[in-house]
Every structure is written in structure tokens, then in C-alpha cells.
């Protein structure tokens, strides 16, 4: 059969953003996928070079609009390291709680879109989004914003947690845990779902390391690496975090790793509430920041929902001289070409979706 070249995107419901894929297909089998990116390029790395440190978190949040707080935390973490600011003890716990809530919201997004990518109308999507909304409501309670929180300050947070936040969170998590089991059963008890996910888009361990994929994609291929475990920040060590690893490296493993991570996140949140000390979690007001960078070169990494986020920063006293972001979506998308080789066109978006990409994060 002859090779047909088809163009998918840049505006397409399944690309989770604006990404253009040029796909060569032989009948129904993919010969080559070439992602064209850059439609959302805003030059964040350059913008940051021209602004004061604490002017930048809003830019960072827009990198990953599915999990804005994680990116915010990554950036603020880098600035804290550069300026030598110690995070308050209680703030560490609060940050862990908020970040894990954010991770839950982000993974729910994936669970919803998995159904979409496989052609399950919008059922799973709507169900997952309803739960995601409950979590966003919690985050709104804690930060005052529903999506772009800008809640991190050096050494702590902008807002203190409201009084009944703990109660609300525990309630929500209880409901979510039950429904999550239901969702997983709804999808996985369907033999067609398993057929479509198992053994599709296999990424072997060696290839995963060679291609440099991160986060759940890497862990689904059997690599035991999670920043929260191997380079623990905040209080993950005190909370006995354990990373979730599966060994199949296919779509199903990538899906299941995320579900396991969600249960782990819920456990972490509950444990953090228990161990949280009394005190103050407010960070430094912006005007009190003394512009004095202690460390010239800072490398900070955090486990954001999409994988390992890393910032390489050369710090000037008032602003970053150079800020380079390792965007997890960027490197996961780079692996798409390898994973989809020989797959069927029907599976292209199942694989694409399982990488859990956010295009704003890819293009920066």
C-alpha cells in the first residue's frame, strides 16, 4: 500500500491544545509521526529575564494550565534556593497538601480524557470533571482562586488555610476515593477498553531512559524514579512517600500508575493534615524581599503531575539572569515519535493522551 500523509491539527479536539501532527500512514498503520510545536510559544524564559523575581509566578502558572500550582511551586522553589529563604515548617505541610490536591485535579483530567481519546463520548470526561471541580473548589477555598492561584510567596503562602478546610478536604477525598474505584471499574471492566490499552504504545525501560521521558510515563516503564522519593523536598520524607511503579510500559500501565498515584496523594494529604504543626504559613510580603542572591546557579527539581519539572537558574540579585525550564511535557512529546512507530492510527491519540501533555508547557 502507498503511504498517505495526513495532517492532524493544530486545532483538533484530541491534541489537548494546539499541536500539529504530521502522520504518515500505511493503510491503518503509522509509519511516522512528526509533531510540529510552537503555536503557544510565548517566550517565558525571556520574559522572566526582564522582570523582578516575584512578578513571574503568574507566567509560570500559565505554563501548565492543568496544574498551575505545581509550576508556581517549582519557580518559587528555585527563587527560594537562590535567595536562601527557608520555608516555614507549617508552610511545608500546607504546600504538600495543596500540591497533592493539584495533582489529583490534574490526574482526574487525564482519566477523563482517556475515555475521550478512545471514543467514549464524554461520559468519563464529565464524571471526572465533576470531581475535578470539587477539588478546584477546595483550592479556591484555600487560595481564593479557582485556576491560577499565584498563592506562593517566598517562605510560605499568601493566604492562611481557612478553619474548616481540613474537614472539607477529608470529606471530599472520601467521596473521591469511592468514586475513583467506580471509575476505574467502569473503564477496566470493559473488555474493549483493556483491549485498546493493553500492549499498545509499549515503551521499554531502556528506551524510556534513553528518550528521557519523565514522571508517570517513566515509572510506568519500570524505572524507579520519583523526585519526591529520590530527592525529597518539603516533608515528603516525613510522610513516608512511596513511589508507584509498574513494569508493562503500555497505555494501561501509564493509566494505572496515575490511579495509584492518586490514592497515594490522598494518603499524603490525610497524613499531612495529621502531622501538620500549629503556627504560621504566611510567606514574605513581596516588598520585604531583600534583593540579595546567595547562590549564583540554582538547579531545582520538583515532581509536577506531568513529570519532573526542573529549573536551571542563573540568579542576579533582583531577577533571573537566565532561567531555563525543563518542561516535562516537552520531553514526553519528543518520545511520541518513537512510541507510536508501528501503532495503528486509532491508537495514536490513545498514546498521545496517555502521555498527558499540556501544549503550553511544551512550547513555553
Amino acid at each position: 500500500m502507498s503511504i498517505t500523509r495526513i495532517n492532524i491539527g493544530p486545532i483538533h479536539p484530541s491534541t489537548h491544545g494546539v499541536c500539529r501532527l504530521v502522520v504518515d500512514v500505511d493503510g491503518d498503520t503509522i509509519v511516522k509521526v512528526e509533531p510540529h510545536i510552537g503555536f503557544l510559544h510565548r517566550g517565558v524564559e525571556k520574559l522572566v529575564e526582564n522582570r523582578m523575581y516575584m512578578q513571574c509566578p503568574p507566567y509560570m502558572e500559565k505554563l501548565d494550565y492543568v496544574a498551575p500550582m505545581s509550576m508556581d511551586d517549582l519557580y518559587v522553589g528555585a527563587v527560594e534556593a537562590a535567595l536562601g529563604v527557608e520555608v516555614k515548617e507549617r508552610a511545608k505541610y500546607v504546600r504538600v497538601i495543596l500540591l497533592e490536591l493539584q495533582r489529583l485535579a490534574s490526574h482526574l483530567f487525564l482519566i477523563g480524557s482517556v475515555g475521550n481519546d478512545l471514543g467514549l463520548m464524554f461520559t468519563m470526561f464529565m464524571w471526572a470533571f465533576k470531581d475535578r471541580d470539587l477539588i478546584l473548589k477546595l483550592l479556591e477555598e484555600a487560595t481564593g482562586q479557582r485556576m491560577f492561584y499565584v498563592n506562593m510567596r517566598l517562605g510560605g503562602l499568601v493566604n492562611t488555610l481557612p478553619k474548616d478546610f481540613e474537614e472539607h478536604t477529608i470529606d471530599t477525598l472520601e467521596g473521591l476515593e469511592k468514586r475513583l474505584k467506580k471509575y476505574q471499574a467502569f473503564l477496566e471492566k470493559n473488555p474493549i477498553f483493556i483491549e485498546r490499552m493493553k500492549g499498545v504504545g509499549v515503551l521499554k525501560k531502556e528506551d524510556a531512559i534513553d528518550l528521557g521521558v519523565t514522571g508517570p510515563v517513566l515509572r510506568a516503564s519500570g524505572v524507579r524514579y520519583d523526585v519526591r522519593k529520590n530527592n525529597p523536598y518539603y516533608v515528603y520524607r516525613e510522610l513516608n512517600f512511596s513511589e508507584k511503579v509498574l513494569y508493562d510500559g503500555d497505555n494501561l500501565a501509564r493509566f494505572r500508575v496515575r490511579i495509584l498515584e492518586m490514592y497515594e496523594s490522598m494518603r499524603l494529604i490525610r497524613a499531612a493534615f495529621e502531622k501538620m504543626p500549629e503556627g504560621d504559613e504566611k510567606g514574605m510580603p513581596i516588598r520585604l524581599i531583600t534583593p540579595k542572591a546567595k547562590n549564583r546557579i540554582v538547579v531545582v527539581n520538583r515532581e509536577v503531575p506531568r513529570g519532573e519539572g526542573l529549573i536551571y537558574m542563573v540568579a542576579d540579585p533582583e531577577k533571573a539572569y537566565r532561567l531555563s525550564i525543563r518542561a516535562p511535557s516537552f520531553i514526553n512529546l519528543a518520545a511520541l515519535e518513537h512510541i507510536t512507530k508501528g501503532a495503528r492510527i486509532a491508537d495514536l491519540f490513545a498514546i498521545f493522551g496517555s502521555l498527558d501533555l499540556v501544549m503550553a508547557d511544551v512550547d513555553r
Binding site: 510552537g38 525571556k46 531512559i209 528521557g212 524514579y225 519528543a334 518513537h338
Partner: protein
Amino acid sequence: MKIERNKFADSIFEMHEKGFTYLVKITAVDYQKYLEMVYIFRNLESIEENTLEIDLDPSDLWMPSITNYYKAADWYERELQEMFGVEIKGRNAKRLLLEKWDGKGFPLRKNFEWNKQYETME
């Protein structure tokens, strides 16, 4: 770890042999007098990180490609070519990573001229 460019190929080989098989990031910093390339590698067994830094003269900007050892380097190298104007030698794919751009210069270099409109906004 600062090294010279002519020793770079050997260091990469050595790094890969030592188990630093996971490429974390390739980036560059424009210090105006020179341009520093930064390669961060990780050993996933022992969870160690290693950084290679290479200083490049702005009049002689090129680096050998490391895609033979690290497939992950592919997109990073393309990005650097576009953002810093560092020519990466020994690559097959020539296509730009981001979409075409009409302006001049390389955006992340310090001598990049900002658009006048943005200047007034500052």
C-alpha cells in the same frame, strides 16, 4: 564540571559508560563574553547527577551532537539551535523545532533586540 569542547566527545562517552544514561537537560547561558553550554546527566541507579559545562566563544558557536548516545538530546539540541544560534553538528534532522519566525537574531541571547512596542511597555 567545566571541560573543553575538544574533550567533549570523550566525556560524553565516559559519562554514558559510567551509567549516567538519563539526560536531564541541555541548556545554555549567554554570559555575553562567552556562551556556556550546560548538560545535566543523571544516573538512575545511584540517583547521582553530573553536569558538564562547556564555554563557547561567541564567534565560534558549534557543538557536536550527542543524539548517538542520548536520544533525548534531539529536541533540546533543536531548541538550542533556534534559541541561541548554536550550530549542532552531526544531526540528521534540520527542521526547526518551533514554527517559523520572521524576526532576526536568537531570542534567548542577551544581544537580542526587543521589539520597540515591548520597550515602551517596560
